[in-house]
Amino acid sequence: MAAAGVGIAVLLPFVSLVMWSLSSRWFYPQLWPRQWGLRAWQYVFSTAGPQILAALGQSVLVAATTAAISVAIGIPAGRALGLYDFRGKDLVSVVLILPVIVPPLCVTMGLHLWFIIMGLAGSFFGVVLVHLTFCLPYAVFVMWGIFSNYNPSYEEQARSLGASAWKVLVRVILPLTFPGIMVAGLFSFLLSWSQYLSTLIIGGGKVTTLPILLFALMGSGDRPVAAAVSIVFVAPALLALLFSARYLGGKGIAGIR
Protein backbone atom coordinates (compact mmCIF):
# COMPACT_ATOMS: atom_id res chain seq x y z
CA MET A 1 0.00 0.00 0.00
CA ALA A 2 2.63 2.47 1.12
CA ALA A 3 4.84 1.53 -1.82
CA ALA A 4 1.93 2.05 -4.20
CA GLY A 5 1.26 5.46 -2.62
CA VAL A 6 4.86 6.53 -3.05
CA GLY A 7 4.82 5.21 -6.60
CA ILE A 8 1.76 7.23 -7.50
CA ALA A 9 3.19 10.38 -5.90
CA VAL A 10 6.42 9.98 -7.88
CA LEU A 11 4.71 9.14 -11.15
CA LEU A 12 1.94 11.74 -11.03
CA PRO A 13 4.02 14.64 -12.41
CA PHE A 14 5.16 12.39 -15.24
CA VAL A 15 1.59 11.62 -16.19
CA SER A 16 0.81 15.27 -16.67
CA LEU A 17 4.12 15.78 -18.47
CA VAL A 18 3.23 13.04 -20.93
CA MET A 19 -0.26 14.52 -21.34
CA TRP A 20 1.18 17.96 -21.95
CA SER A 21 3.61 16.65 -24.55
CA LEU A 22 0.80 14.91 -26.42
CA SER A 23 -1.66 17.80 -26.43
CA SER A 24 -2.02 20.42 -29.05
CA ARG A 25 -4.80 22.44 -27.35
CA TRP A 26 -5.20 22.46 -23.61
CA PHE A 27 -6.35 25.55 -21.76
CA TYR A 28 -7.01 26.29 -18.11
CA PRO A 29 -9.85 25.13 -16.32
CA GLN A 30 -10.14 22.13 -18.66
CA LEU A 31 -9.17 18.90 -16.93
CA TRP A 32 -8.35 17.10 -20.14
CA PRO A 33 -6.61 18.34 -23.30
CA ARG A 34 -9.12 19.48 -25.91
CA GLN A 35 -7.09 18.15 -28.79
CA TRP A 36 -4.32 15.54 -28.91
CA GLY A 37 -1.39 15.73 -31.29
CA LEU A 38 2.22 14.82 -31.92
CA ARG A 39 3.32 18.34 -32.79
CA ALA A 40 5.60 18.62 -29.77
CA TRP A 41 7.31 15.32 -30.44
CA GLN A 42 7.68 16.16 -34.13
CA TYR A 43 9.39 19.32 -33.04
CA VAL A 44 11.69 17.45 -30.65
CA PHE A 45 12.66 14.80 -33.15
CA SER A 46 12.85 16.75 -36.38
CA THR A 47 13.06 20.55 -36.08
CA ALA A 48 15.07 20.69 -32.84
CA GLY A 49 16.39 17.14 -33.21
CA PRO A 50 20.04 17.85 -33.98
CA GLN A 51 20.16 20.54 -31.29
CA ILE A 52 18.68 18.24 -28.64
CA LEU A 53 20.87 15.36 -29.66
CA ALA A 54 23.99 17.51 -29.34
CA ALA A 55 22.88 18.73 -25.90
CA LEU A 56 22.10 15.17 -24.85
CA GLY A 57 25.58 14.09 -25.87
CA GLN A 58 27.12 17.04 -24.05
CA SER A 59 25.15 16.25 -20.88
CA VAL A 60 26.11 12.58 -20.94
CA LEU A 61 29.75 13.51 -21.47
CA VAL A 62 29.79 16.06 -18.64
CA ALA A 63 27.89 13.83 -16.20
CA ALA A 64 29.90 10.70 -17.02
CA THR A 65 33.21 12.53 -16.69
CA THR A 66 32.10 14.10 -13.41
CA ALA A 67 30.90 10.76 -12.04
CA ALA A 68 34.08 8.97 -13.08
CA ILE A 69 36.32 11.58 -11.44
CA SER A 70 34.11 11.65 -8.31
CA VAL A 71 34.40 7.89 -7.89
CA ALA A 72 38.11 7.83 -8.72
CA ILE A 73 38.77 10.36 -5.97
CA GLY A 74 35.99 9.10 -3.69
CA ILE A 75 37.45 5.60 -3.35
CA PRO A 76 40.90 6.49 -1.95
CA ALA A 77 39.49 9.42 0.04
CA GLY A 78 36.69 7.31 1.53
CA ARG A 79 39.15 4.52 2.29
CA ALA A 80 41.46 6.85 4.19
CA LEU A 81 38.55 8.40 6.10
CA GLY A 82 36.88 5.09 6.86
CA LEU A 83 39.94 3.07 7.88
CA TYR A 84 42.35 5.46 9.52
CA ASP A 85 42.22 8.01 12.30
CA PHE A 86 44.23 11.11 11.65
CA ARG A 87 44.32 14.69 12.83
CA GLY A 88 41.99 17.02 10.97
CA LYS A 89 39.45 14.33 10.12
CA ASP A 90 36.62 16.51 11.48
CA LEU A 91 37.85 19.43 9.41
CA VAL A 92 37.68 17.28 6.29
CA SER A 93 34.02 16.46 6.88
CA VAL A 94 33.20 20.16 7.40
CA VAL A 95 34.99 21.15 4.20
CA LEU A 96 33.20 18.35 2.34
CA ILE A 97 29.77 19.33 3.56
CA LEU A 98 30.28 23.05 2.79
CA PRO A 99 29.35 22.97 -0.94
CA VAL A 100 26.33 20.85 -0.02
CA ILE A 101 24.84 23.32 2.47
CA VAL A 102 25.96 26.65 0.95
CA PRO A 103 23.55 27.69 -1.86
CA PRO A 104 24.96 26.54 -5.21
CA LEU A 105 24.65 30.07 -6.58
CA CYS A 106 27.08 31.41 -3.94
CA VAL A 107 29.58 28.61 -4.56
CA THR A 108 29.44 29.08 -8.30
CA MET A 109 29.70 32.89 -8.12
CA GLY A 110 32.65 32.51 -5.78
CA LEU A 111 34.38 30.13 -8.12
CA HIS A 112 33.58 32.06 -11.31
CA LEU A 113 36.25 34.71 -10.79
CA TRP A 114 38.94 32.12 -10.16
CA PHE A 115 37.86 30.09 -13.16
CA ILE A 116 38.12 33.20 -15.35
CA ILE A 117 41.62 33.86 -14.02
CA MET A 118 42.66 30.26 -14.65
CA GLY A 119 41.07 30.29 -18.11
CA LEU A 120 38.57 27.58 -17.20
CA ALA A 121 35.42 29.65 -17.67
CA GLY A 122 33.47 28.61 -20.75
CA SER A 123 35.32 25.33 -21.08
CA PHE A 124 34.13 21.75 -20.78
CA PHE A 125 36.65 21.06 -18.08
CA GLY A 126 35.57 24.15 -16.14
CA VAL A 127 31.99 22.88 -16.10
CA VAL A 128 33.11 19.43 -14.97
CA LEU A 129 35.18 21.07 -12.25
CA VAL A 130 32.28 23.11 -10.89
CA HIS A 131 30.02 20.06 -11.00
CA LEU A 132 32.66 18.20 -9.02
CA THR A 133 32.37 20.68 -6.16
CA PHE A 134 28.80 19.43 -5.71
CA CYS A 135 29.23 15.77 -6.68
CA LEU A 136 32.53 14.88 -5.06
CA PRO A 137 31.32 15.37 -1.45
CA TYR A 138 28.51 12.86 -2.05
CA ALA A 139 30.89 10.32 -3.57
CA VAL A 140 33.35 10.74 -0.68
CA PHE A 141 30.59 10.44 1.92
CA VAL A 142 29.18 7.29 0.33
CA MET A 143 32.62 5.65 0.08
CA TRP A 144 33.48 6.79 3.62
CA GLY A 145 30.44 4.88 4.86
CA ILE A 146 31.35 1.82 2.80
CA PHE A 147 34.91 1.75 4.12
CA SER A 148 33.75 2.19 7.72
CA ASN A 149 32.18 -1.29 7.45
CA TYR A 150 35.10 -2.81 5.62
CA ASN A 151 37.68 -5.31 6.76
CA PRO A 152 41.10 -4.38 5.33
CA SER A 153 42.41 -7.84 6.22
CA TYR A 154 40.94 -9.04 2.91
CA GLU A 155 43.63 -6.99 1.21
CA GLU A 156 46.38 -8.50 3.36
CA GLN A 157 45.07 -11.99 2.69
CA ALA A 158 45.12 -11.30 -1.04
CA ARG A 159 48.67 -9.91 -0.85
CA SER A 160 49.82 -13.00 1.00
CA LEU A 161 48.19 -15.17 -1.67
CA GLY A 162 50.37 -13.46 -4.24
CA ALA A 163 48.40 -10.44 -5.48
CA SER A 164 50.32 -7.25 -6.21
CA ALA A 165 49.01 -3.94 -4.87
CA TRP A 166 47.42 -3.22 -8.25
CA LYS A 167 45.77 -6.64 -8.46
CA VAL A 168 44.43 -6.18 -4.94
CA LEU A 169 42.74 -2.95 -6.06
CA VAL A 170 41.18 -4.49 -9.16
CA ARG A 171 40.39 -7.98 -7.88
CA VAL A 172 39.56 -7.32 -4.21
CA ILE A 173 38.88 -3.69 -3.26
CA LEU A 174 36.71 -2.81 -6.27
CA PRO A 175 34.52 -5.95 -6.12
CA LEU A 176 34.14 -5.66 -2.33
CA THR A 177 33.01 -2.04 -2.58
CA PHE A 178 31.18 -2.36 -5.91
CA PRO A 179 27.68 -1.60 -4.59
CA GLY A 180 29.02 1.57 -2.94
CA ILE A 181 30.84 2.55 -6.10
CA MET A 182 27.61 2.18 -8.09
CA VAL A 183 25.72 4.34 -5.60
CA ALA A 184 28.44 6.99 -5.51
CA GLY A 185 28.69 7.01 -9.30
CA LEU A 186 24.94 7.21 -9.75
CA PHE A 187 24.55 10.08 -7.28
CA SER A 188 27.32 12.01 -8.96
CA PHE A 189 25.92 11.35 -12.42
CA LEU A 190 22.39 12.44 -11.52
CA LEU A 191 23.57 15.49 -9.60
CA SER A 192 25.72 16.59 -12.52
CA TRP A 193 22.91 15.77 -14.97
CA SER A 194 20.52 18.17 -13.26
CA GLN A 195 22.93 21.09 -12.83
CA TYR A 196 21.61 24.24 -14.46
CA LEU A 197 22.83 27.36 -12.69
CA SER A 198 26.46 26.31 -12.32
CA THR A 199 26.65 25.15 -15.94
CA LEU A 200 25.09 28.42 -17.09
CA ILE A 201 27.50 30.61 -15.14
CA ILE A 202 30.75 28.70 -15.63
CA GLY A 203 29.90 27.42 -19.10
CA GLY A 204 28.89 30.90 -20.13
CA GLY A 205 26.58 29.52 -22.82
CA LYS A 206 29.44 27.74 -24.54
CA VAL A 207 28.79 24.38 -22.89
CA THR A 208 25.22 23.57 -23.83
CA THR A 209 23.97 20.73 -21.69
CA LEU A 210 20.38 19.53 -21.83
CA PRO A 211 19.13 21.72 -18.93
CA ILE A 212 20.56 24.80 -20.64
CA LEU A 213 18.74 23.95 -23.86
CA LEU A 214 15.61 22.98 -21.95
CA PHE A 215 15.37 26.36 -20.24
CA ALA A 216 15.94 28.09 -23.57
CA LEU A 217 13.13 26.13 -25.20
CA MET A 218 10.80 26.68 -22.25
CA GLY A 219 11.41 30.39 -22.43
CA SER A 220 9.46 30.46 -25.68
CA GLY A 221 6.34 29.59 -23.67
CA ASP A 222 5.41 26.51 -25.70
CA ARG A 223 4.17 24.17 -22.96
CA PRO A 224 3.80 20.95 -25.03
CA VAL A 225 7.32 21.33 -26.43
CA ALA A 226 8.73 22.08 -22.99
CA ALA A 227 7.00 18.97 -21.67
CA ALA A 228 8.40 16.79 -24.44
CA VAL A 229 11.92 18.14 -23.88
CA SER A 230 11.51 17.55 -20.14
CA ILE A 231 10.73 13.91 -20.81
CA VAL A 232 13.81 13.64 -23.00
CA PHE A 233 15.73 15.13 -20.08
CA VAL A 234 14.33 12.88 -17.39
CA ALA A 235 14.34 9.62 -19.35
CA PRO A 236 18.11 8.90 -19.29
CA ALA A 237 18.32 9.69 -15.58
CA LEU A 238 15.38 7.37 -14.92
CA LEU A 239 17.04 4.67 -16.99
CA ALA A 240 20.29 5.01 -15.05
CA LEU A 241 18.30 4.76 -11.82
CA LEU A 242 16.44 1.63 -12.91
CA PHE A 243 19.65 0.05 -14.15
CA SER A 244 21.35 0.45 -10.79
CA ALA A 245 18.32 0.02 -8.51
CA ARG A 246 19.59 -3.31 -7.20
CA TYR A 247 22.68 -1.68 -5.75
CA LEU A 248 20.73 0.97 -3.84
CA GLY A 249 19.38 -1.36 -1.15
CA GLY A 250 21.45 -2.75 1.67
CA LYS A 251 21.48 -6.25 0.15
CA GLY A 252 24.37 -5.68 -2.18
CA ILE A 253 26.57 -4.42 0.60
CA ALA A 254 25.67 -7.13 3.11
CA GLY A 255 28.36 -9.65 2.17
CA ILE A 256 31.30 -7.40 2.86
CA ARG A 257 31.90 -7.79 6.58
Binding site: E156, S160, L161, G162, A163, S164, P175, L176, I256
Partner: protein, 343 residues
Protein backbone atom coordinates in the same frame (compact mmCIF):
# COMPACT_ATOMS: atom_id res chain seq x y z
CA UNK B 1 59.36 -26.51 0.65
CA UNK B 2 62.16 -24.95 2.63
CA UNK B 3 63.03 -23.92 6.11
CA UNK B 4 62.14 -20.80 8.01
CA UNK B 5 64.65 -18.95 10.11
CA UNK B 6 63.89 -15.93 12.26
CA UNK B 7 66.87 -14.23 13.85
CA UNK B 8 66.62 -11.71 16.70
CA UNK B 9 63.45 -10.13 15.43
CA UNK B 10 62.01 -7.07 17.11
CA UNK B 11 58.63 -5.79 15.96
CA UNK B 12 56.52 -2.92 17.19
CA UNK B 13 53.43 -0.88 16.44
CA UNK B 14 54.22 2.80 16.87
CA UNK B 15 56.66 3.22 19.72
CA UNK B 16 55.93 0.13 21.79
CA UNK B 17 57.79 -3.04 20.85
CA UNK B 18 55.43 -6.02 20.78
CA UNK B 19 57.95 -8.75 19.90
CA UNK B 20 61.45 -8.59 21.39
CA UNK B 21 64.52 -10.48 20.23
CA UNK B 22 62.57 -13.35 18.73
CA UNK B 23 64.55 -16.21 17.19
CA UNK B 24 63.09 -19.42 15.84
CA UNK B 25 63.93 -22.04 13.26
CA UNK B 26 61.40 -24.33 11.63
CA UNK B 27 63.10 -27.07 9.67
CA UNK B 28 62.18 -28.10 6.17
CA UNK B 29 59.04 -30.20 6.05
CA UNK B 30 58.21 -29.81 9.72
CA UNK B 31 55.30 -28.30 11.57
CA UNK B 32 56.04 -26.16 14.61
CA UNK B 33 53.49 -24.63 16.97
CA UNK B 34 53.72 -21.08 18.15
CA UNK B 35 51.83 -21.04 21.42
CA UNK B 36 50.91 -18.10 23.59
CA UNK B 37 47.99 -16.42 25.33
CA UNK B 38 45.87 -13.86 23.49
CA UNK B 39 47.85 -10.66 22.97
CA UNK B 40 51.25 -12.34 23.27
CA UNK B 41 52.16 -11.27 19.73
CA UNK B 42 51.61 -14.48 17.76
CA UNK B 43 49.74 -12.83 14.89
CA UNK B 44 52.36 -10.09 14.81
CA UNK B 45 55.11 -12.67 14.19
CA UNK B 46 53.13 -14.30 11.38
CA UNK B 47 52.41 -10.95 9.75
CA UNK B 48 56.11 -10.15 9.78
CA UNK B 49 57.00 -13.48 8.17
CA UNK B 50 54.26 -12.98 5.56
CA UNK B 51 55.67 -9.54 4.77
CA UNK B 52 52.62 -7.59 5.92
CA UNK B 53 54.67 -5.87 8.61
CA UNK B 54 58.29 -4.78 8.69
CA UNK B 55 60.31 -5.81 11.73
CA UNK B 56 62.42 -3.07 13.32
CA UNK B 57 65.45 -5.31 13.36
CA UNK B 58 66.42 -8.90 12.82
CA UNK B 59 66.44 -11.20 9.82
CA UNK B 60 63.70 -13.31 8.23
CA UNK B 61 65.15 -16.07 6.11
CA UNK B 62 62.77 -18.12 3.97
CA UNK B 63 64.17 -21.14 2.18
CA UNK B 64 67.72 -19.89 2.68
CA UNK B 65 67.08 -16.45 1.21
CA UNK B 66 66.74 -13.24 3.24
CA UNK B 67 63.16 -11.99 2.83
CA UNK B 68 63.21 -8.73 4.80
CA UNK B 69 62.85 -6.39 1.82
CA UNK B 70 60.43 -8.52 -0.20
CA UNK B 71 56.76 -7.51 -0.55
CA UNK B 72 54.23 -10.14 0.61
CA UNK B 73 53.36 -11.34 -2.90
CA UNK B 74 57.01 -12.08 -3.66
CA UNK B 75 57.55 -14.18 -0.53
CA UNK B 76 57.23 -17.89 -0.71
CA UNK B 77 55.21 -17.83 2.52
CA UNK B 78 51.42 -17.79 2.67
CA UNK B 79 49.46 -16.74 5.73
CA UNK B 80 45.99 -18.04 6.56
CA UNK B 81 44.22 -15.55 8.79
CA UNK B 82 42.33 -16.40 11.94
CA UNK B 83 39.11 -15.04 10.42
CA UNK B 84 38.36 -16.91 7.19
CA UNK B 85 38.66 -14.05 4.75
CA UNK B 86 37.00 -15.78 1.80
CA UNK B 87 36.05 -13.35 -0.95
CA UNK B 88 32.24 -13.18 -0.81
CA UNK B 89 31.96 -12.32 -4.50
CA UNK B 90 33.69 -15.54 -5.58
CA UNK B 91 32.57 -19.16 -5.24
CA UNK B 92 34.65 -21.92 -3.61
CA UNK B 93 36.53 -22.80 -6.77
CA UNK B 94 37.34 -19.18 -7.59
CA UNK B 95 38.52 -18.51 -4.05
CA UNK B 96 40.88 -21.46 -4.10
CA UNK B 97 42.13 -20.62 -7.59
CA UNK B 98 42.79 -16.96 -6.71
CA UNK B 99 46.47 -17.37 -5.85
CA UNK B 100 47.17 -19.53 -8.91
CA UNK B 101 45.48 -16.91 -11.07
CA UNK B 102 47.77 -14.27 -9.55
CA UNK B 103 50.71 -16.45 -10.59
CA UNK B 104 49.35 -16.43 -14.14
CA UNK B 105 48.70 -20.17 -14.37
CA UNK B 106 46.61 -21.57 -17.21
CA UNK B 107 42.92 -22.32 -16.69
CA UNK B 108 43.54 -26.03 -17.18
CA UNK B 109 46.28 -26.18 -14.58
CA UNK B 110 44.20 -24.16 -12.12
CA UNK B 111 41.23 -26.48 -12.55
CA UNK B 112 43.37 -29.57 -12.08
CA UNK B 113 45.15 -28.30 -8.98
CA UNK B 114 41.96 -26.93 -7.41
CA UNK B 115 40.25 -30.27 -7.93
CA UNK B 116 43.12 -32.10 -6.24
CA UNK B 117 43.17 -29.78 -3.26
CA UNK B 118 39.36 -29.99 -2.90
CA UNK B 119 39.78 -33.72 -2.50
CA UNK B 120 42.62 -33.34 0.00
CA UNK B 121 40.56 -30.96 2.16
CA UNK B 122 37.38 -33.06 1.91
CA UNK B 123 35.51 -30.45 -0.10
CA UNK B 124 34.88 -32.45 -3.28
CA UNK B 125 31.74 -31.34 -5.09
CA UNK B 126 31.52 -27.94 -3.47
CA UNK B 127 33.25 -26.17 -6.41
CA UNK B 128 30.36 -23.84 -7.24
CA UNK B 129 29.09 -23.17 -3.73
CA UNK B 130 28.77 -19.57 -2.64
CA UNK B 131 30.76 -18.71 0.46
CA UNK B 132 27.71 -17.89 2.58
CA UNK B 133 26.28 -21.32 1.77
CA UNK B 134 29.17 -23.07 3.57
CA UNK B 135 29.34 -24.17 7.21
CA UNK B 136 32.03 -22.75 9.49
CA UNK B 137 34.16 -25.87 9.16
CA UNK B 138 33.85 -25.86 5.37
CA UNK B 139 34.82 -22.19 5.21
CA UNK B 140 37.88 -22.95 7.31
CA UNK B 141 38.86 -25.74 4.93
CA UNK B 142 38.38 -23.56 1.85
CA UNK B 143 40.59 -20.95 3.46
CA UNK B 144 43.21 -23.62 4.12
CA UNK B 145 42.88 -25.05 0.61
CA UNK B 146 43.36 -21.58 -0.88
CA UNK B 147 46.83 -21.46 0.68
CA UNK B 148 47.75 -25.15 0.22
CA UNK B 149 47.04 -25.09 -3.50
CA UNK B 150 49.97 -22.69 -3.93
CA UNK B 151 52.44 -25.20 -2.43
CA UNK B 152 54.30 -22.43 -0.60
CA UNK B 153 57.67 -22.97 1.04
CA UNK B 154 56.18 -21.82 4.32
CA UNK B 155 52.58 -22.07 5.47
CA UNK B 156 51.54 -19.75 8.30
CA UNK B 157 48.33 -20.75 10.08
CA UNK B 158 46.91 -18.21 12.53
CA UNK B 159 44.62 -20.00 14.99
CA UNK B 160 42.74 -21.70 12.16
CA UNK B 161 40.50 -23.70 14.49
CA UNK B 162 39.60 -21.21 17.18
CA UNK B 163 36.13 -20.51 15.78
CA UNK B 164 35.06 -24.16 15.54
CA UNK B 165 33.23 -26.27 18.11
CA UNK B 166 35.10 -29.00 20.01
CA UNK B 167 34.26 -32.06 17.86
CA UNK B 168 34.88 -30.28 14.60
CA UNK B 169 38.09 -28.84 15.97
CA UNK B 170 39.44 -32.29 16.79
CA UNK B 171 38.60 -33.53 13.30
CA UNK B 172 40.26 -30.49 11.71
CA UNK B 173 43.41 -30.95 13.81
CA UNK B 174 43.79 -34.46 12.47
CA UNK B 175 43.07 -33.27 8.94
CA UNK B 176 45.72 -30.56 9.16
CA UNK B 177 48.23 -33.04 10.56
CA UNK B 178 47.48 -35.53 7.79
CA UNK B 179 47.74 -32.90 5.07
CA UNK B 180 50.98 -31.57 6.52
CA UNK B 181 52.44 -35.07 6.69
CA UNK B 182 51.43 -35.69 3.07
CA UNK B 183 52.50 -32.40 1.55
CA UNK B 184 55.54 -31.84 3.79
CA UNK B 185 54.97 -28.09 3.65
CA UNK B 186 56.97 -26.34 6.37
CA UNK B 187 54.26 -25.01 8.67
CA UNK B 188 54.10 -22.57 11.56
CA UNK B 189 50.89 -23.28 13.43
CA UNK B 190 49.69 -20.59 15.82
CA UNK B 191 47.36 -21.36 18.71
CA UNK B 192 46.49 -20.13 22.18
CA UNK B 193 45.35 -23.61 23.21
CA UNK B 194 48.15 -25.51 24.98
CA UNK B 195 46.64 -28.94 24.38
CA UNK B 196 46.32 -28.16 20.67
CA UNK B 197 49.96 -27.04 20.46
CA UNK B 198 51.15 -30.20 22.20
CA UNK B 199 49.20 -32.54 19.95
CA UNK B 200 49.82 -30.74 16.65
CA UNK B 201 53.58 -30.70 16.42
CA UNK B 202 56.90 -32.12 17.51
CA UNK B 203 58.17 -28.68 18.32
CA UNK B 204 56.45 -26.07 20.42
CA UNK B 205 57.53 -22.50 20.91
CA UNK B 206 55.97 -20.70 23.84
CA UNK B 207 55.58 -16.96 23.53
CA UNK B 208 54.76 -14.91 26.61
CA UNK B 209 54.60 -11.11 26.54
CA UNK B 210 56.42 -10.83 23.24
CA UNK B 211 59.35 -13.01 24.24
CA UNK B 212 60.10 -16.66 23.58
CA UNK B 213 60.12 -18.39 26.93
CA UNK B 214 60.80 -21.94 25.87
CA UNK B 215 61.22 -23.97 22.71
CA UNK B 216 61.21 -27.73 22.74
CA UNK B 217 59.29 -30.93 22.32
CA UNK B 218 55.76 -31.09 23.78
CA UNK B 219 57.05 -33.33 26.60
CA UNK B 220 59.86 -30.96 27.48
CA UNK B 221 57.53 -27.99 27.80
CA UNK B 222 54.96 -29.97 29.72
CA UNK B 223 57.20 -31.86 32.13
CA UNK B 224 60.30 -29.68 32.27
CA UNK B 225 59.07 -26.08 32.08
CA UNK B 226 61.91 -23.56 32.00
CA UNK B 227 60.37 -21.24 34.59
CA UNK B 228 57.27 -20.88 36.77
CA UNK B 229 55.47 -18.83 34.09
CA UNK B 230 55.79 -21.64 31.58
CA UNK B 231 54.58 -24.14 34.18
CA UNK B 232 51.65 -21.87 34.99
CA UNK B 233 50.72 -21.61 31.30
CA UNK B 234 50.49 -25.40 31.08
CA UNK B 235 48.15 -25.57 34.05
CA UNK B 236 50.75 -25.80 36.80
CA UNK B 237 49.36 -24.40 40.03
CA UNK B 238 51.45 -25.87 42.87
CA UNK B 239 54.56 -23.85 43.66
CA UNK B 240 56.66 -23.98 46.79
CA UNK B 241 60.05 -22.90 48.04
CA UNK B 242 63.02 -24.82 49.38
CA UNK B 243 66.77 -24.69 49.84
CA UNK B 244 69.57 -26.54 48.12
CA UNK B 245 72.25 -28.15 50.26
CA UNK B 246 74.94 -30.43 48.85
CA UNK B 247 72.89 -31.53 45.87
CA UNK B 248 69.72 -32.13 47.86
CA UNK B 249 66.65 -29.93 47.74
CA UNK B 250 64.89 -29.54 51.10
CA UNK B 251 61.40 -28.09 51.53
CA UNK B 252 58.60 -28.51 54.05
CA UNK B 253 56.75 -30.72 51.62
CA UNK B 254 59.35 -32.93 50.02
CA UNK B 255 63.03 -33.74 49.90
CA UNK B 256 64.47 -34.25 46.44
CA UNK B 257 67.89 -35.35 45.28
CA UNK B 258 68.99 -32.71 42.79
CA UNK B 259 72.40 -33.71 41.50
CA UNK B 260 72.21 -31.42 38.50
CA UNK B 261 71.95 -28.25 40.58
CA UNK B 262 75.13 -26.90 42.11
CA UNK B 263 74.13 -23.67 43.81
CA UNK B 264 74.36 -24.05 47.58
CA UNK B 265 72.05 -22.47 50.12
CA UNK B 266 69.92 -20.76 47.46
CA UNK B 267 66.18 -20.43 47.84
CA UNK B 268 64.68 -22.15 44.82
CA UNK B 269 61.11 -22.51 43.59
CA UNK B 270 59.78 -25.95 42.75
CA UNK B 271 56.54 -27.19 41.21
CA UNK B 272 54.55 -30.37 40.87
CA UNK B 273 51.68 -30.96 38.45
CA UNK B 274 48.27 -31.39 40.15
CA UNK B 275 47.75 -34.85 38.63
CA UNK B 276 51.15 -36.05 39.97
CA UNK B 277 50.29 -35.61 43.65
CA UNK B 278 49.11 -38.79 45.39
CA UNK B 279 46.22 -38.25 47.76
CA UNK B 280 44.77 -40.69 50.27
CA UNK B 281 42.42 -40.49 53.21
CA UNK B 282 44.79 -42.23 55.65
CA UNK B 283 48.20 -43.87 55.83
CA UNK B 284 51.49 -42.57 57.10
CA UNK B 285 53.35 -41.44 53.97
CA UNK B 286 53.72 -37.76 53.00
CA UNK B 287 52.30 -34.65 54.60
CA UNK B 288 48.99 -34.10 56.31
CA UNK B 289 46.40 -31.65 55.09
CA UNK B 290 42.74 -30.79 55.19
CA UNK B 291 40.39 -30.75 52.16
CA UNK B 292 39.15 -27.22 51.50
CA UNK B 293 36.80 -27.93 48.61
CA UNK B 294 36.36 -30.29 45.70
CA UNK B 295 35.14 -29.80 42.17
CA UNK B 296 33.96 -32.66 39.97
CA UNK B 297 35.41 -32.39 36.44
CA UNK B 298 34.36 -35.70 34.92
CA UNK B 299 37.33 -38.02 34.52
CA UNK B 300 39.01 -36.37 37.47
CA UNK B 301 38.11 -34.37 40.52
CA UNK B 302 39.98 -31.22 41.47
CA UNK B 303 40.71 -31.08 45.18
CA UNK B 304 42.10 -28.12 47.11
CA UNK B 305 44.07 -29.24 50.15
CA UNK B 306 45.40 -26.92 52.87
CA UNK B 307 48.85 -28.13 54.01
CA UNK B 308 50.52 -25.97 56.61
CA UNK B 309 50.68 -22.50 55.02
CA UNK B 310 50.05 -23.58 51.44
CA UNK B 311 47.09 -24.82 49.39
CA UNK B 312 47.85 -27.67 47.01
CA UNK B 313 45.63 -28.42 44.04
CA UNK B 314 45.28 -32.11 43.29
CA UNK B 315 43.67 -33.79 40.29
CA UNK B 316 42.65 -37.31 41.18
CA UNK B 317 40.10 -39.86 40.01
CA UNK B 318 38.62 -40.16 43.54
CA UNK B 319 35.33 -38.49 44.19
CA UNK B 320 34.42 -39.47 47.74
CA UNK B 321 36.42 -36.84 49.63
CA UNK B 322 34.51 -34.26 51.66
CA UNK B 323 35.44 -30.71 52.56
CA UNK B 324 37.00 -30.58 56.04
CA UNK B 325 38.26 -34.15 55.82
CA UNK B 326 41.82 -34.74 56.81
CA UNK B 327 44.04 -36.36 54.13
CA UNK B 328 47.62 -37.18 53.35
CA UNK B 329 49.50 -35.92 50.28
CA UNK B 330 52.53 -37.58 48.82
CA UNK B 331 54.67 -35.58 46.40
CA UNK B 332 56.78 -38.12 44.46
CA UNK B 333 60.31 -36.66 44.26
CA UNK B 334 60.74 -37.70 40.60
CA UNK B 335 57.74 -35.59 39.64
CA UNK B 336 59.00 -32.45 41.29
CA UNK B 337 60.54 -29.87 39.00
CA UNK B 338 63.03 -27.48 40.60
CA UNK B 339 63.68 -24.22 38.78
CA UNK B 340 67.32 -23.37 38.45
CA UNK B 341 67.24 -19.81 39.68
CA UNK B 342 64.77 -17.34 41.09
CA UNK B 343 63.50 -14.97 38.41
Amino acid sequence: MGDLELKNITIGYGNTPVIRDFSLTVENGQMASLLGPSGAGKTTVLRAVAGLLQPRSGAIIIDGRPANGLPPEKRNAVMVFQKTLLFPFMNVEQNIGFGLQMQGRSTGEIRRRVEKILELTELTGLNRRKIHELSGGQQQRVSLARALVLKPAILLLDEPLSSLDATLRQHMRELIQDIQAQTRITTLFVTHDQAEALMMSQRVCLLLNGRIRQVGSPRELFYRPADPDVARFFGGCNFFEGRLKNGVYYSQYATVAAPGLSANGDRLTATIRPEDIRICADGNRGITGRVQKTSFEGTTTRIWVQCQDRVFVVLAPVTDLQAGQSVRLHLPPDKIRIFAAEN
